[in-house]
Symmetry: C3
Subunit: 122 residues, 3 copies
Amino acid sequence: MEFTINTTKRTEMIDITDKVQDVISKEGIVIVFVPHTTAGITINENADPDVKTDILRKLDEIVPKDDGYLHAEGNSDAHIKASMMGSSVSVIVEDGKLLLGTWQSIFFCEFDGPRKRRVLVK
Amino acid sequence: MEFTINTTKRTEMIDITDKVQDVISKEGIVIVFVPHTTAGITINENADPDVKTDILRKLDEIVPKDDGYLHAEGNSDAHIKASMMGSSVSVIVEDGKLLLGTWQSIFFCEFDGPRKRRVLVK
Amino acid sequence: MEFTINTTKRTEMIDITDKVQDVISKEGIVIVFVPHTTAGITINENADPDVKTDILRKLDEIVPKDDGYLHAEGNSDAHIKASMMGSSVSVIVEDGKLLLGTWQSIFFCEFDGPRKRRVLVK
């Protein structure tokens, strides 16, 4: 199963929990996989949007956009952040529901947008 | 399956390998999932406790507790570290045993304790 | 299933996609697991080798080799990087093919080589 999302900024975190919930089956483990090398995926807090802002700002500080990188496309920071966050998350499913904690959502992490992106779910 | 742990410090790494080993079945893949947004999970060395100290200290340096974050709860550092470590690990199981390397243990990573925490295993 | 690789430098990223592709079955999810605590695994760009160089260089800057670590073996940086990249990746398999994006490869990340290393696949 697969869905697409359109990102609107260079870096942003988009809550895709509902989209994943829509396509999962009854029982087992779901893997949500991002088939891109300048975007990642993570699970974090969905309540206060400041958390997303703080995460993205701190990642920008740790891995600045311009920093003498060799890669000519100018988006090495996005590749590095993608590996730091990871390309997939695994979540347990019971009774057709994602077993997430109260404050957890699944976030697609755009690090070199805006772009049209794909997310694979199994 | 699920178990709880009580953490005793603001940041610490707790070896949960035995607890995971106790609840796994014969064969397949186990996923160990932390349903919290200010704690993470990782696999690393179990022999020298200095490794845990070094990991936690370096994470504190990369992501300081106070750093002009917006999130009003004052624990943005914990959210960021949680995403850097990840919310789950996957381990191969054979003959009822976790296929870990000689020096590997599974560590629950508390980043905003002390708290009572849950760990989900499937 | 398992294969070995010989790394040749202290830190390097080695594309193991073909080795994983060789041992997977028809359908499902493959987990590729590194049973070491000073090496990690990640998915990133395979086209421009500069991306690997940029990732390794930036990780070296974030986590320097010598930085007052307690762990007496002198490779704490490798342990920390291993946890930042992670010890496994999960990839969806369809029709016997890894469902990777166009630019994605699976990279074994050596952080304390050269060594002979194992990779487990299930």
